[in-house]
Amino acid sequence: MISANLSAIFYLVSGVLFILALRGLSSPETSRQGNLFGILGMIIAVTVTFLSTGNFSSGFIFVLVFILIGGSIGAFIAYKIPMTAMPELVAGFHSLVGLAAVFVAISAFLNPEAFNLGTPGNIKLGSLIEMSIGAAVGAVTFSGSIIAFLKLQGIMSGSPITFKGQHPLNAMILISIIVLIYLLCSTQSSNLFWILLAVSFLIGFLLIIPIGGADMPVVISMLNSYSGWAAAGIGFTLENTALIITGALVGSSGAILSYIMCKGMNRSFFNVILGGFGATDGVSNTSSKEQRPVKSGNADDAAFLMKNASSVIIVPGYGMAVAQAQHALREMVDTLKKNDIKVSYAIHPVAGRMPGHMNVLLAEANVPYDEVFELEEINNDFANADVAFVIGANDVTNPVAKTDPQSPIYGMPVLDVEKCKSVLFVKRSLSPGYAGIDNDLFYKENTLMLFADAKKMTEDITKNL
């Protein structure tokens, strides 16, 4: 058994190690070391908890058993999960953090003596406030992440679900949560605690259903942030420094990612949260679209264009992930490089279904990370490039965002693909992207549409090179 002061110092050490874990991610070289710092911090925190309780009775065995069960499930998932499914995995993990926070709060509410928080029905006021906030945010994180998971997995339709009076209803529920916390703290009634949890689960569900599939990068980042705040709330209850530091780190990390994603779509955070984007407008837009001439080609034409180019920029999007075309793409690029053609990749901030998703997929296909560039780094290079190869991306290349103030995506930062000498566009059809608007790029003089499955087309081009 170690003293409370000593264990507090160890918790601080593990908090610092978590900071270093995030710090390591500033560059790929230091990132692996950073991850080890994170693991070390976790080992310290868990060990110190065992030592400070000093309880190595049969209960201890059960703790180890449950860690082992959870750990093997987690390890199994981590090794099996395909990289294209990372958004679902992260959403699923968020829900678990949220639920764990709820369970810890329930446990502390039922048995406050174990945590030195008072006795049942007479919990210290401060602790009760912290506990109920932690539980409420945890519950929102849980049910919100479940919806996000179902939408990403395709079990639930990605289109927004909206109904009349949705916003007033949500606002009412949010106010009722605050009232419930107030009443709970003044009466210590366990019934109110359960009602608070139920209402929080409900609002998490209601907050996410109106948000459309294309806004998932924001939703995942936002839930990431919530899971952090829930952990911090529990950290205050348990008076645990490691948990408070981590909660704050994760909370701000998720908030920053949400901000970056919103900026990438030129939408305000509230606009995304209120939801309903790209719901029905898209349908009316496509039906009223006039028939404009499109140049389409085959793999042979594409190979010819690229063979005669001296530099090619690849613009991957979510469609590439869906078609699992990243490996075929890298093979094509290898062939191009053998012919002394300069190739680089351009990644839009909101390409994919979560922040940085495309980068991971390209890394998986053995694309060196120093050939992959962010929007600001590469946008000026399009004017000097010979061919832009757009594979599975759409809205993020639409020049309308720069020219038409009426367009829903006006002002969104886009890749200046149209400045290239020629543009190759791999796509199944002329259908619009998630924003539901037509892409002017399809009809440009210098655009060649390649109508096919992304993977098959890429393989065919490689054969023809």
């Binding site: 995030l22 500033s26 059960f62 499930i73 998932i77 048995n111 909660g247 922040p355 060196p368």
Partner: protein, 102 residues
């Protein structure tokens, strides 16, 4: 008058938000997915609370309502810890520089 310990914890919390703010802005955008999975893993340090809850039963009855919630939370957090760190490790191992063959 003595200062409430809550104020100290609040100070740690506020300062950590600032640290988080500056550290996360310095994360390179290409590593944003590993950032999310690693934050997932570290936020599961909530397992310390779960362990205390799980050990709250006495030797006659290890399982009471409170400790059962604790054990469940341990399993959930452990999924996240192992899953989060390992999947991050797996992703980071894929980030390679250009081979020096030129």
């Amino acid at each position: 008058m003595e200062i409430d310990p809550l104020i100290f914890r609040l100070s740690i919390f506020i300062l950590s938000i600032f640290i988080g703010y500056y550290v996360v802005w310095s994360v390179t955008p290409s590593l944003h997915t590993p950032l999310m999975s690693v934050t997932n893993a570290i936020s599961s340090v909530i397992i310390v609370g779960a362990i205390i809850a799980g050990l709250s039963g006495n030797s006659e009855s290890i399982f009471n309502t409170s400790s059962i919630f604790g054990f469940l939370a341990i399993a959930l957090a452990a999924i996240n810890i192992f899953g989060g760190f390992l999947v991050t490790q797996r992703m980071l191992a894929m980030y390679k520089k250009k081979r020096k063959n030129k």
